[in-house]
């Protein structure tokens, strides 16, 4: 056995705290190590050439690369070794950067630790076995979870490449948050005018299937072969029969406040959330519908309503519709579940959400929208009078480690500026006051936009926090400090608009656990690499787009959506998928057929198989691993009494060897 050890300086990232030459010198003396050297950047082309040359010239048969985390360059070096003619699985990475040079300051200690890390890797590589990659077929379809602007854009891109794609949307229409906006910053495009054409495109594409009122129930399988259960909640209206004529909701006698309009307006019990809804098919809100409340009332004494069913000429109303579970297979999944607004009722200084005239940015959007509940008037929800003096407060929930989230929500500075402008456009006499901490207007034409709002629209920007808000004489009194002039400020406002931050949706954890993708302390999904893999997750075949990964504005959401579709398409374009061979393997001679592993396997990847035992001259059952299903988690190895089942690449022998090298 001739092991080669290659130590990377990583510029000075490693060599500043680890004496790489010393590491090379010490490790070259280890048994089985035949050659050891250092280089400035091992992952660079000349670095890889150096490895290949050494493999050929020194006749190395396995290598250890001492560099950054295996999550970054394990693949690179495996490929490099393969090109030099050795099996790619005879390569180990000694992580002396993230786990050593970057976390220690003392050069002597760090060097000693680095030597230990290399020793462990040498021990491990000495027990590596050459492995061959396996291949699995790919289901050439993509699932998109979430039908907001991100999900829609992803679907359009994938459909353009002529691959089938399915959108699963929780609400009764696609469109998401953007459908609620009035105008978009900084161009002041009307949100509906740029979104609805996309909604129509996606709904008319022969490659796109849209499931609305639907949620993901269960996900199993793996890249190339995800099995997904989708719950289609009973809409009570047959989507294939309904023509969208609207007679039903015109007739419906029940009025309740509309969630889509932030409860500023009313809707019926059978309704479409907004006029441009896709599909343009109503849904029955069973909680408020008279037919259902009569049916559910004890004894059935109440008279059922049933008006919508009577009026519908197409027989589309179906009160008996049940939830339906559909099971489908997908090769890749794009998560586009978006965000939710921070709930400002935790803030005493803003009135705990008690005051009607203290609203959020999304309320303002609905009021500003000409098709919205107020017909485009900015009013005081308490008395319906037009608002004149409006105070905007930024960073509500954002950048607040105590009560909110520590991060900046990125879009609030911009949407507040937009609101200040829209206010003036809707009412010439209005005056906007904006309390801010910092203005973050990083984006094309963003800074210019904020300047315009201040200079041309006369919005008064006050740097400082608001200390208290209270109601007095029909006005909302806002007290705060202007930290630039040092003055105490009191404004008698008609309306206060809070720029509430963007936070993860409550169900993200559940979804993350179903998909086996990580999330961070703010419950936002975690990308595979913050710089270089922003739309991938560590689970191959699952991609992220939009605000479910971090707060994003529309251009960024659209950009990540297209990025995610390209990643998904890249997968689907393969004939078959490479699968890491680091999976379980059974030694039939040792297996006693006890089935402990069958029970312990979380993936049902182990079957029993009858074999002819020549030595014992009988037939007996042994465990057999289903290669396409095994994920290599290794749980089976621990329950095996005979040590007959082992994981390739993380074998018992290897781990024991590592421990001995400690």
């Amino acid at each position: 056995m001739k092991i080669g050890v290659f130590i990377c300086h990583c510029g000075t990232n490693i060599s500043a705290t680890v004496d790489v030459e010393k590491v090379a010198q010490v490790t070259s003396k280890l048994a089985k190590v035949h050659f050891s050297t250092t280089y400035l950047y091992m992952c660079s082309n000349p670095g890889q050439e150096l490895i290949k040359k050494a493999i050929k010239e020194k006749g190395l048969d396995r290598i250890v690369v001492c560099s950054c985390s295996p999550s970054l360059h394990e693949k690179t070096f495996r490929k490099c070794a393969e090109e030099a003619g050795i099996n790619p699985y005879l390569v180990e990475i000694a992580n002396i950067r993230e786990h050593c040079s970057w976390v220690h300051r003392d050069k002597k200690e760090a060097t000693l630790k680095a030597i230990d890390i290399v020793r462990l890797a040498v021990a491990k590589v000495s027990r590596d076995k050459p492995l061959v990659k396996t291949y699995v077929p790919i289901e050439k379809r993509v699932l998109i979870i979430g039908g907001g602007i991100s999900g829609i854009q992803s679907a359009i891109d994938i459909a353009f490449a002529k691959y089938p794609v399915t959108i699963v949307e929780r609400e009764s229409s696609i469109g998401g948050r953007m459908a609620r906006f009035d105008k978009t910053f900084p161009t002041l495009d009307c949100a509906a005018c740029i979104l609805t054409p996309k909604m129509v495109t996606v709904s008319q594409s022969q490659y796109v299937t849209i499931y609305t009122c639907s949620e993901i129930e269960e996900v199993s399988g793996h890249v190339g072969d995800f099995k997904v259960k989708i719950r289609k909640r009973a809409r009570s209206v047959d989507i294939n029969k309904c023509t969208g004529c609207g007679a039903c909701y015109a007739k419906c006698p029940v009025k309740v406040s509309a969630k889509f309009d932030m409860n500023l307006g009313l809707r019926k019990a059978i309704y479409v959330p907004f006029p441009q809804a896709v599909p343009n098919v109503p849904v029955i809100d069973r909680q408020n519908c008279l037919w259902f409340s009569a049916k559910n009332a004890s004894g059935g004494t109440k008279k059922a309503c049933g008006l919508c069913k009577k009026i519908c000429n197409f027989g589309a109303i179906d009160y008996d519709m049940q939830d339906e579970i559909i099971e489908e297979k997908f090769g890749a999944i794009i998560v586009a579940t978006g965000f939710t607004q921070f709930d400002h009722s935790v803030y005493g200084e803003y009135g705990y959400g008690k005051y009607k005239d203290v609203v959020t940015g999304l309320h303002f959007e609905r009021m500003a929208s000409s098709s919205g509940p107020t017909g485009g008037k900015i009013i005081r929800p308490s008395d319906g009078k037009e608002a004149r003096d409006v105070v905007f407060i930024q960073c509500v929930g954002s950048r607040d480690e105590q009560k909110g989230v520590p991060y900046c929500s990125r879009i609030c500075c911009m949407y507040t500026a937009k609101h200040a402008l829209l206010l003036k456009e809707h009412n010439k006499d209005a005056q906007a006051y904006v309390f801010y901490i910092d203005i973050r207007a990083a984006g094309k034409n963003y800074e210019e936009f904020v300047k315009k709002v201040q200079d041309e629209y006369g919005a008064i920007y006050l740097r400082g926090r608001v200390s208290r808000i209270f109601e007095k004489g029909g006005k909302i009194i806002v007290r705060g400090a202007d930290t630039l002039s040092g003055a105490q400020i009191e404004i008698k406002a008609d309306l206060v608009v809070l720029a509430t931050g963007l936070i993860a949706r409550p169900e993200t954890v559940k979804l993350a656990q179903m998909l086996h993708i990580p999330y961070d302390q703010n419950r936002l999904f975690t990308e595979a690499h913050p710089k270089l893999a922003p739309v991938e997750t560590v689970t191959s075949g699952i991609f992220l787009t939009g605000a479910c990964q971090s707060p994003k504005d529309i251009p960024d959401s659209v950009a990540t959506a297209s990025a995610a579709s390209v990643k998904a398409l890249g997968l689907l374009l393969q004939d078959k998928l490479e699968k890491e061979p680091l999976i379980a393997k059974v030694d039939r001679n040792l297996c006693s057929g006890c089935r402990a592993c069958v029970v312990a396997c979380p993936f049902n990847a182990i079957d029993m198989k009858e074999i002819e035992d020549r030595a014992l001259k009988c037939k007996r059952d042994v465990a057999e691993v289903v290669e396409g299903v095994c994920t290599g988690c290794g749980n089976c190895t621990v329950v095996c009494r005979m040590s007959a089942i082992d994981i390739e690449g993380f074998s018992n022998r290897q781990i024991m060897e590592e421990i001995e090298a400690l």
Partner: protein, 149 residues
């Protein structure tokens, strides 16, 4: 019986003893969390030696015993938070297995501080640092394992 390497270690560590701790980290959460501690340049004591495994459910109790027998002063197993295991259930198995092992250690008179478990997610670089710092402190209090044998 003490193997030769253990003996060698015993001699070399006689005067200036610094604990050596073996840590088994699952690839998906804890290993990535330790990576993050590195990327964010958080400093921690160099006593820990990390062995990467696919999942905390891959850790055989024998590995832990072997570590202690071979002169590690402490052993740490770190995996994903409950519910977050990349393989759904691995960490539940691990949690049960090692609760029993810990009991066994108490029974055998092995200082239970020497063996610990922690749940560190991929975004918890800071938590990883905290876990290591605390563990090193604890093991320092427990003293060298070989002195007791």
């Amino acid at each position: 019986m003490i193997n030769p390497r253990t003996q060698e270690l015993k001699n070399s560590r006689a005067e200036s003893w610094e604990p050596k701790i073996a840590a088994f980290l699952c690839n998906w959460c804890s290993y990535a969390g330790a990576d993050l501690a590195g990327t964010s340049r958080r400093e921690y004591p160099p006593n820990i030696r990390i062995i990467r495994l696919p999942c905390s459910g891959r850790v055989n109790p024998l590995f832990v015993l072997k570590c202690l027998m071979d002169g590690a002063d402490g052993v740490l197993i770190a995996g994903c938070h409950t519910g977050d295991c990349h393989y759904s259930e691995g960490n539940y198995y691990a949690r049960r297995r090692f609760a029993i092992l810990k009991k066994l250690f108490e029974f055998l008179g092995i200082d239970p501080r020497r063996f610990q478990m922690a749940w560190v997610s991929a975004s918890e670089g800071d938590k990883w640092v905290k876990v290591v710092k605390e563990l090193v402190e604890e093991i320092k209090k427990a003293g060298p394992i070989l002195a007791k044998s």
